[in-house]
Amino acid sequence: MFKKLALRSGRAVYKIAAIILFLVLWEIAARFHLLVSATFLPPFSKVITVLYHMALSGELWRHASISLQRSLIGFTCGMLFAVPLGLAIGWFQKLGNFLSPLLQVFRNMPTLALLPVFVMFFGIGELSKVMVIFWGVLWAVLLNTIAGVQDVDPQLIKAARSMGTSSLRLFATVVLPASLPFIFTGMRISATTSILILIAAEMVGASRGLGYALYFYQGNMKIPEMYGYIIVMAILGVVLNYVLEALERRNFRWRDAGGIASE
């Protein structure tokens, strides 16, 4: 029992050993001015202290909450648009053939390059930020959904059809469940993208948000605060990815081979 616990915690330490090592090196490098001056690279411990105070004062939450709100709205709108569209494009071949050249063109436009265009169209307020996230999250989900529908095993469609299944039922009971893992993978990719895009979008014409705070502190040479926000963003991305991965594993158990023990 104790042995097992020790083994497990040992494994956990091993998993994050590289991170810990990196942080230790950071601390040492900063304290002994090994790489750059202390102004540009404050010690990790200092960054954490600053971050702690920003969290206590409520400032961190003020910026984080608006950022989360923007990405959530943009993300949700993107999903609501991309999933049905992807299902339709994947299912109706003619529609797919018609739209795919256009989609290829759009997809290959770098989202951030479109930011000025969005600002022109939707102003510098909330709408342009939500729209740019919407645009950014669209593609991964759309393309994965299309791929998912087109990847459905024709044998399964045949099996269902042989029982006289209606097209609607076929779609609901075969095409949709078969594409769900693809859709979910698209969502996971998009979720991380949405944070990256958001940060960049908030550096332009925003007065709140994680990206704004980062930009603000950098401009005012408050370097520890700046690093604090970088760390927050990294943690946000990691946590988001971890949660979505866990959800994926849970919901698509039928995908991985074997796994009777994983009940």
Binding site: D153, Q155, L156, K158, A159, A160, R161, S162, M163, G164, T165, R169, T173, V174, P177, A178, L180, F252, R253, W254, R255, D256, A257, G258, G259, I260
Partner: protein
């Protein structure tokens, strides 16, 4: 026991009238027509077990696709109980080459699929599922996903799924080709028992002569290019039969030998009788046709 799981249900006879099928091939921009099936005629009595043997590519799957209603024949028609078939329906259960189980559904939910399509009330489904899962020997595995089952078990699920909605006809396309020899014998014996119990009409496609002779009342030997009925052979071996029992039966050996000869003839291989009929140029033509594919 509810009606849907009654021991012997109604069965249907099948009549295949002059079936023909061809595929359009596009090779380097050139279109050509490949005739996969031509003038295929066969009558199957209600409750009969008919096996179809033929070399790979002779059109067996093409035939079953047509009988299932999934593919429209280019020519001819199918009659079930005297009525022309226009598409797939629940009167036929199709067990395909490969198991084609829904991987996101448990064994129970897979078996239930046809019942959902059929519109069987929700509260009646569990009993029917249990009955057929038990029939194929998978009790206790109801909640497993297909990827947690062996090949033989998956095949059993596919059979249970096709039996559950109580079709009158079972169409089986090389169902036991992908399992090991021992499992295959078990499945063959089980299939014969299920057939005896349910009395369904079975159209069973196989590569294996032994399997065809073991299972069927009648074996249809197909000829190639184009696919057609070369000859049919009634199998008078007494029932009940078992895979193990047949191995030591002299009569079984004799019949399989006969089917084997018919298969050779049907493919146009040179046997003493066919030699005069087949000239060298015919063979060359056949070979070139093959190459152009």
């Amino acid at each position: 026991m509810s009606q849907a799981v009654s021991a012997v249900s109604a069965t249907s006879g099948i009549e295949l009238r002059d079936l023909g099928q061809s595929y359009i091939l596009r090779d380097a921009g050139k279109k050509s027509e490949f005739v996969a099936l031509a003038h295929f005629n066969l009558q199957i009595k209600a409750g009969e077990f008919v096996a179809i043997v033929g070399p790979s590519g002779c059109g067996k799957s093409t035939l079953l696709d047509i009988v299932s209603g999934l593919a429209k024949p280019k020519q001819g028609e199918i009659l079930i109980d005297g009525r022309t078939v226009s598409g797939p329906d629940l009167d036929r259960g199709f067990i395909m080459q490969g198991y084609a189980l829904f991987p996101w559904r448990t064994v129970r939910k897979n078996v239930e699929y046809g019942l959902e399509v059929k519109g069987v009330p929700k509260r009646e489904r569990p009993e029917i599922c249990r009955h057929f899962i038990h029939m194929v020997g998978l009790s206790g595995f109801e909640n497993r996903y297909p990827n947690q089952l062996s090949g033989g078990m998956r095949q059993r699920v596919a059979i249970a799924r096709a039996l559950a909605f109580d079709p009158k006809i079972l169409l089986m396309d090389e169902p036991f080709a992908a399992v090991d020899a021992q499992t295959r014998e078990t499945l063959q014996d089980e299939l014969m028992q299920i057939w005896a119990k349910t009395g369904k009409t079975v159209l069973f496609v196989t590569h294996s002569i032994d399997e065809a002779v073991l299972l069927a009342d009648r074996v249809v030997v197909m000829g190639t290019r184009p696919g057609r009925v070369y000859q049919t052979l009634a199998i008078d071996l007494p029932r009940p039969r078992t895979a193990a029992g047949m191995r030591v039966s002299a009569e079984f050996g004799w019949i399989t030998r006969k089917v084997w000869e018919l298969l050779q003839e049907g493919q146009g291989y040179m046997t003493p009788e066919t030699t005069p009929k087949t000239s060298v140029s015919d063979v060359a033509e056949q070979i070139s046709a093959q190459v152009s594919l």
